[in-house]
């Protein structure tokens, strides 16, 4: 069997969030995390979510992933409400979430083993392909605790890409990488995206990163999380995060972020 089939383009999906609200109940009472969020992510679109800490970005990803459910409103994947997590939606968590009892290859194989229709030789080839992509093929048999923080995130990226999901949900995936590796992965991600488009929701704190990767940038404001502004980023690809155009657009996004934050800050005594 040709394992390359596994790398074939998948049909991307459309994500729709309709007036989604979510709050968490704890001993201190209910914490509203998201309020009436409306968001549509088109097929094959990369949407970057940006907003201050605690504005519900991770929660939004968890709702799309099917790990949490909205209190009100609906989350639709290709028009079908999300009822559970699924292989069609790959998640890269904010904490790398690698399994310490498996080696690097074992971690990448974890999702592939659950995917029907692959023999073990094919699985290994696919896993190695992605490890190679993130530059960690030599570390296939390393244990997780032997990797640096950035290497762990790259393994996590390979692991979430390996089952070839139709949606990729990424939560600050490159936060602890050095500038060079990060640039490399920006290029990789844009290249993958050009050859095999999938729908991506990408959470970041870095406005340049958001502008560099996103077809659209969504700015959220906190307490509770709401969508405040959408930016269409209409720059040609591949984009260089250090280019002038990216910097200019990033400035606009930053200005928007500030304008939502500063009134809120000056209002609190």
């Amino acid at each position: 069997m040709a394992w390359e089939q596994e790398l074939e383009p998948v049909r991307p999906v459309k994500l729709v969030l309709e007036r989604v609200s979510k709050s968490f109940r704890s001993k201190r009472g209910a914490t509203p995390a998201l309020a009436e969020v409306d968001l549509t992510v088109e097929e094959g679109e990369v949407v970057c979510l940006i907003g201050p800490s605690g504005c519900g970005k991770s929660t939004l990803l968890a709702l799309i992933a099917g790990l949490e459910f909205p209190d009100t409103g609906r989350v639709l994947v290709d028009g079908v409400p999300v009822t559970s997590p699924g292989r069609d939606r790959g998640v890269m968590f904010q904490e790398h979430a690698l399994f310490p009892w498996l080696d690097v290859l074992g971690n990448v194989l974890f999702g592939l083993r659950l995917k029907p229709g692959l023999d073990s030789a094919a699985r290994r080839e696919v896993a190695k392909y992605y490890l190679h992509m993130v530059g960690l093929l030599e570390f296939a048999h390393a244990h997780v605790h032997e990797l640096s923080g950035g290497m762990k995130q790259r393994v996590a990226l390979a692991r979430s890409l390996a089952p070839n999901p139709r949606v990729l949900l990424m939560d600050e995936p490159f936060a602890s990488l050095d500038a060079l590796t990060r640039e490399q992965l920006y290029a990789d991600l844009q290249r993958i995206q050009q050859t095999r488009r999938r729908t991506v929701v990408f959470v970041t704190h870095d406005v340049r990163e958001a502008v560099c990767l996103g077809d659209r940038v969504v700015v959220l404001s906190p307490n509770p999380g709401r969508v405040r502004q959408l930016f269409e980023i209409d720059l040609p690809r591949p984009r260089d995060p250090l280019s002038l155009e990216v910097a200019r657009q990033a400035n606009d996004v930053m200005a928007a972020l500030r304008s939502f934050l500063e009134p809120a800050r000056s209002a609190t005594p």
Partner: protein, 254 residues
């Protein structure tokens, strides 16, 4: 090599001093046996087969009882971690029972089973099972939910998640509990063998007991030495490989 030399020399010096002190004849042999007397006893007892048989008898009781305890403790611990009712009944009971020194099971085991192998097994099982149960419960409860969330996004749930995520994630805690259970089982078995004569087999505890009855302190000390070595060897063979694996994989210092 050199690093082993110095401790060995110190040990040899201490033995020699002990031997010389004994040779002065200040105390009778049943109060102060010399290393040579102990070695003579051990040689004879190994030669006539009494120590090898005792090691086999004790070893078999310990292993059978221990693995029974593990086989019962693991699923019960799992149940306690998952079912609310079990946590509030079995979990509380286990906490209480673990606080009970396992020697205290001996009278009960004797009344139930008489002077039989079953009584011995009963003591070992009851010494083992609670700490295994509690460690399993603790380990499973403390598996980071993030692991299960990540696994679910790959389509893992139910049995698969249990076998491939929950159990391996809880393994370090479970192994710690198994080690503790082993120590309890070993101690309670020795106590039981010293108290109770069971005609189906004389274990190390019995040899110790007879050593006392015969006023043969060389026998008592010799058997104690065997008991110490047995414990060390069991730790080497049973737990060290697992702990080494855990250290290598998880990067833990267990």
């Amino acid at each position: 090599m050199r690093r082993a030399l110095l401790p060995l020399a110190v040990l040899a010096g201490a033995l020699l001093a002990w031997q010389l002190l004994g040779a002065l004849g200040l105390w009778p042999g049943w109060v102060f046996p010399t290393p040579l007397q102990i070695a003579t006893y051990l040689g004879a007892a190994i030669g006539d087969g009494s120590i090898p048989t005792a090691v086999l008898v004790t070893g078999r009781r310990l292993l059978v009882g221990y693995f029974l305890g593990v086989a019962v403790g693991l699923p019960l611990g799992f149940l306690t971690a998952r079912a609310h009712l079990a946590a509030r009944t079995l979990g509380v009971l286990a906490l209480g029972m673990q606080a009970l020194p396992s020697v205290c099971w001996v009278p009960l085991a004797l009344l139930w089973f008489g002077q039989t192998e079953a009584a011995m097994l009963c003591v070992v099982v009851l010494g083992t099972v609670w700490s295994i149960l509690l460690a399993t419960e603790h380990g499973i409860r403390n598996v980071p939910p993030l692991y299960l969330r990540a696994a679910r996004t790959f389509g893992s749930s139910g049995w698969h998640a249990l076998v491939h995520v929950t159990l391996p994630a809880a393994l370090p805690a479970i192994v710690a509990g198994m080690k503790q259970g082993w120590a309890f089982a070993w101690r309670s078995l020795m106590a039981a063998e010293i108290y109770v004569t069971i005609l189906t087999g004389f274990g190390l505890g019995h040899l110790l007991h007879y050593g006392r009855e015969l006023h043969a302190l060389d026998q008592v000390l010799g058997v104690m030495l065997v008991i110490v070595l047995f414990g060390l060897l069991a730790d080497r063979l049973l737990f060290q490989p697992i702990e080494r694996l855990l250290r290598r994989r998880w990067g833990l210092t267990v």
